[in-house]
Symmetry: C2
Subunit: 82 residues, 2 copies
């Protein structure tokens, strides 16, 4: 069984208050080398059968319709070794 990872992040022009909160907390805790933080979502999908082009296209479609709000978010799909 293969694992496909879909990463969903806010587009860079969209404000990310969660990331900002982490950024400020890190600064307060003394981690001064961290310039900025963005927070997003990671989905791990276990896929039955081979992950060929058709399977990836279908996952791409799923990500677009179900996992990401493409008005404000970008996503990437990649196959990961188990």
């Amino acid at each position: 069984m293969a694992r496909v990872v879909v990463d969903v992040m806010l587009k860079s022009e969209i404000l990310d208050p969660q990331g900002k909160a982490v950024e400020r907390a890190a600064d307060r805790l003394g981690y001064s080398t961290i310039a900025s933080v963005r927070q997003g979502k990671r989905f791990e999908l276990q896929v039955d059968g081979p992950v060929d082009d058709a399977a990836l296209a279908s996952i791409h479609e799923l990500a677009e319709s179900l996992l990401a709000n493409t008005v404000i978010e970008d996503f990437t799909v990649r196959v990961e070794d188990n």
Copy 2:
């Protein structure tokens, strides 16, 4: 400036209702090859200066104290090409 990614996922023995909801929705929409879905968080950190062992150790510490709840979550830290 280097980008370090921290992925935070629920431990495998912890129930993941968000992931389950996506899994059922995917099944309902006809994506039958998707056996299971787990949902987690992804943090993208922009780091000033070189990402050497000391910087990674400090990010590891930050992830442990601020980004993940290590009672129920696992995390991985990795450097990503910009």
